[in-house]
Assembly symmetry: C2
Homo-oligomer: 167 residues x 2
């Protein structure tokens, strides 16, 4: 159940066996039915998820006028980092586009991870840096590229997602 | 010279006296004349700056068609984090809009900071998280708000910058 999570984390840091056991305790399995929300807009984000199976849709606004701005899928972390860090209500929602399976960690256990895993803070820094650079690329593309070019890049980067996401 | 840097860092972590001395060694004073570049597009970013005095302009493209997408000023860190982390050429430039004074740290010394300052990794994580959340707010606003509203927010957030930036 936790293998792909541990593989992903080991890309950033070295883990001892006792630390692996802690991670297995802290990351708890959870399923999200198709169409259900991992996070509702306005809710405070209190956990981070690691996607084992499924595609998630980040959006703003209500059903009348939804703005999509991100998708996440297997082997990626999901959550509203802003809401999670600040404990303020989330400005966007995260919805499962397929029946999904996750491992989730609570805010308290993530703080324990930073303290009790030897390279926990190092992991946190590298993950935050990776998220920042990904977001910067997205923002740069938004400023610079016309919509058709952004769509073409999306198709190139996520060829499988084009099949999995309803238009 | 280093006081405002140490105050800024102490907002995130506790520093011992020996650690303060290391930071004074690692962060080196540097001036940038008005109109000169802290980073040229295409150059690899090999240092991070902390602005003591001045305003910097982040842009893409050449003189013919420049796209502004960020400003930084006193008590903020500047650099192309993407280029700095990946050692790839920067996709944008950073130019001083006024005669500027900085403290800069090299990539090597930043790695030493992460290793040798007790809470160095913790600092790195918190700074990366702060940068990520700021960028996310910017991206969200770009998706959601019309240009006039974005400009109004900019004026509200940075009232002094409106005077200091040429239109």
């Amino acid at each position: 159940m936790h293998d792909s999570l541990l593989v992903t984390i080991r890309r950033f840091i070295t883990l001892g066996l006792a630390e692996e056991d802690l991670l297995r305790q802290w990351f708890v399995p959870e399923t999200v039915p198709k169409g259900a929300f991992f996070l509702q807009p306005g809710e405070v984000s209190r956990k981070i998820g690691f996607v084992l199976q499924g595609v998630f849709h980040y959006f703003q606004g209500d059903d009348g006028q939804r703005l999509t701005y991100y998708f996440s899928r297997e082997q990626e972390f999901i959550g509203d980092y802003e809401s999670f860090l600040s404990a303020q209500p989330a400005t966007h929602g995260i919805q499962a586009l397929e029946e999904a399976c996750l491992l989730t960690i609570s805010a308290d256990n993530l703080q324990r991870l930073y303290r009790e895993v030897r390279q926990g803070e190092h992991l946190g820094r590298l993950v935050a840096e990776t998220l920042f650079v990904d977001l910067l690329r997205q923002l740069t593309s938004f400023y610079k590229d016309p919509p058709a070019q952004r769509y073409a890049r999306f198709v190139r980067t996520y060829p499988d997602l084009v099949q999995r996401i309803p238009q």
